[in-house]
């Protein structure tokens, strides 16, 4: 009965499924399992087998089908969703728990879960393992996400967490770690795609007694939630990556900066840090070595610009999150004036994986995407870098769910642009997408159907950048206001060809003269839609406007 011993229910309790009653579902199922085990024990007048394990886990992938529930029994895993289930969270949880209890009772005195191999939660639909959404993924960063209980260090340890940190500590050769990261070709996953190994080398080369490691979890692009998924589903993977980085560059202190809009991620990271400290994986003399590394959580307070590294540094210092000119780069002068290594959540999470697999097997690596908008199946997925956008959106996501054809895919948030439907065969990597006038960005993919007004979308993003502009430099502070006004003028059909020309001219000024990435890339959604959907702009032009109006009698 070895298979029965591994039977388990995994319920997604990450933010997406939680909003669909995932936590309620887990609680009810856990209670049902405990009650069934107690009954069985009473009947057998014995201590009885331990109850079926019901585990709350991080993201299982296709959020649009949530709440998601995975049943592990008899060496197979079956994933269930409740997309078509109209019941309230509570009614659903009660119904599923009743079904579970009934099935477990039928099992009698056999080890809990032995009969779950064919069990289908009432009201659920099966998402087959060969569904392209699941089958075409290569889960490296998300390997443990959805498998482990992110609140239990033992669960993570059993699944291999901190093993690479131990190896690195035993080897005690920082230069070798940096060399391995460089050889892998890993580039930053936060959007800028800067070679990670180079950055590490620059920080390691800095003189100074104290250095810092900062994890950028200020995932501000609307429609992007890869980092939230990683932090909620496997916080220890990120902490392990940070500790390895600290060792490699000679840092003894770190910060995880998480945006305030992610309360669950914040709670899970805090818990993970406390657990890792208790067990000696963080703190002084980690893993019994001569190295120490402490980590603190810093919570944002709602400012998109804080995702920019110099603004983030100011925010960590408790100041206004305004960026400053670079150089000096944070590698030289970062938080508190100390040499600082800043990487994104997903970048750190890649480190233990690439060290474990080695460069050959790791290959080009993967990218985690969040797929949203009107697609049949949306959520979080991890695919090899270079997978085509068409594969992700049409094959894995199942295409449009609205009945209208897909018009474009928006990538890179307010700093990115749109890939028109005709160019969906583009492989997702930074260079290919830049050639199309957009960027890979942090990994948010918003599908747009034929009902989307591209000029309105450009105005939406410009309003976002205008609102989030910190106001420090004039091109961004004033330019975004003027650009939005011009777009609104076009949308009101009061614009002329001269306004359109002015729009393009101003875009060039704002992108070339702004201080930081927010301003420099603020015009990109506009320029990208102008490039691929220019007729939508020209159709709005009003030939009469600007001419002397005829006086009405």
């Amino acid at each position: 009965m070895s298979t029965a011993a591994t039977a388990m229910l995994r319920v997604c309790t990450a933010a997406g499924c939680r909003s669909r009653g995932g936590e309620q579902l887990r609680r009810h199922c856990a209670t049902a399992a405990t009650e069934a085990a107690t009954e069985a024990a009473t009947e057998a007048m014995a201590a009885g087998a331990p109850p079926l394990r019901v585990k709350g886990v991080g993201c299982l992938g296709p959020c649009s089908d949530g709440p998601l529930l995975a049943v592990d029994a008899e060496d197979t895993t079956r994933l269930f969703g409740f997309a078509a289930d109209q019941a309230s969270g509570r009614a659903r949880a009660e119904r599923v728990a009743a079904g579970l209890q009934q099935r477990l009772r039928a099992t009698g005195s056999a080890p809990a879960g032995a009969e779950l191999g064919t069990w289908r939660p009432p009201g659920a639909h099966l998402i087959p393992a060969d569904d392209p959404f699941l089958a075409l993924q290569r889960r490296l960063v998300l390997e443990r996400c959805g498998l482990i209980d992110p609140g239990e260090l033992d669960d993570a340890l059993a699944a291999g967490a901190y093993r690479q940190l131990r190896a690195v500590l035993e080897q005690d050769d920082p230069a070798a770690v940096i060399a391995a990261v460089q050889r892998s070709g890993l580039r930053g996953r936060g959007g800028a795609a800067y070679p990670t190994g180079l950055k590490w080398q620059a920080v390691a080369a800095m003189a100074g007694q104290r250095k810092l490691v900062v994890c950028n979890g200020d995932e501000g692009d609307p429609g992007a939630f890869m980092d939230r998924t990683v932090l909620e589903g496997d916080p220890h993977g990120v902490l392990e990556g940070m500790a390895i980085a600290a060792l490699a560059v000679g840092a003894d202190h770190g910060f995880v900066y998480v945006r305030a809009e992610y309360p669950l991620a914040i709670a899970r990271v805090r818990r993970a840090i406390a657990q890792a400290q208790r067990r000696g994986w963080l703190g002084t003399a980690i893993g019994g070595s001569r190295h120490g590394f402490d980590v603190e959580v810093r919570v944002g307070a709602g400012a998109y610009v804080c995702g920019e590294e110099t603004a983030l540094i100011h925010s960590i210092e408790g100041r206004r999150g305004t960026p400053r000119p670079r150089p000096p780069y944070p590698a030289e002068r970062g938080a508190f004036g100390l040499p600082t290594l800043i990487n994104n959540v997903e970048t750190f999470a890649n480190i233990p994986v690439l060290l474990r697999l080695g460069c050959e097997v790791y290959g080009r690596g993967t990218k985690v995407f969040s797929l949203t908008g009107p697609v049949r199946r949306g959520g979080v997925l991890e695919v090899p870098l270079g997978t085509s956008l068409r594969t992700i959106v049409e094959t894995m996501g199942g295409g449009s769910a609205s009945g209208r054809p897909i018009k474009a895919v928006q990538t890179g948030g307010p700093s990115g642009g749109c890939v028109p439907a005709s160019a969906l065969d583009v492989p997702v990597d930074d260079a290919s997408l830049r050639a199309l006038g957009t960027l890979l960005g942090s990994g948010g993919l918003v599908v747009l159907d034929a009902g989307t007004d591209m000029v309105d979308l450009a105005a939406f993003f410009m309003a976002f950048s205008r609102e989030e502009s910190c106001g420090k430099c004039i091109p961004c502070r004033c330019g975004t206001v003027q650009l939005e006004l011009l777009l609104r003028k076009l949308l009101a059909r009061r614009g002329t060809a001269a306004d359109l020309a002015e729009l393009e001219r101003l875009c060039a000024v704002v992108s070339s003269a702004s201080l930081c990435g927010l301003g420099q890339s603020a015009p990109r959604p506009l320029l990208s839609t102008l490039r691929h959907f220019r007729p939508e702009y020209t159709a709005l032009l009003n030939a009469e406007a600007g001419q002397p109006q005829a006086v009405q009698p």
Binding site: G66, P222, D449, F460
Partner: protein, 133 residues
């Protein structure tokens, strides 16, 4: 790192707002005194971030997500529908939030910290009405 700067200011302000509901002038002065920071530095930081507020909150909060996925799936119409209702009289403060990262439920609302998925103007208004005492 506290020995380097009064760098915990944002944490202190967040906690203070959590306890008091908003950052009053007296509270800001108190924070400045205790952290030995000029009041301008404290107010300057507090006013920079969207989540800090200087007036007391209403009994309930209703935030319309205006992220991209919600925008292309009807957030503007949802917001307009809610703006037509006398929410303030019902003790509900209406606001917006830029993406909470659970976009599969777009368009969505965050009501008193809980996510309401696939909201339409009519259902949201009916459900919000029930929040009234």
């Amino acid at each position: 790192m506290a020995e380097l700067h009064a760098d915990g200011l944002i944490e202190v302000l967040s906690r203070a707002q959590e306890l008091e509901g908003h950052l009053s002038p007296a509270l800001l002065r108190h924070v400045a005194r205790r952290l030995r920071l000029p009041p301008s530095r404290v107010l300057g930081t507090a006013s920079f971030y969207h989540l800090f507020r200087f007036t007391p909150p209403a009994a309930h909060s209703c935030l319309v997500c205006t992220g991209t996925a919600c925008h292309v799936q009807g957030a503007a119409a949802l917001l307009a529908a809610l703006q037509r209702e006398p929410l303030a009289q019902w003790g509900i403060e209406l606001g917006t939030v830029r993406c909470v990262g659970t976009c599969s439920g777009a368009p969505l609302l965050v009501v008193d910290g809980r996510v309401w998925n696939h909201s339409s103007g009519a259902t949201a208004v009916a459900d919000l009405r029930r929040l009234m005492p």
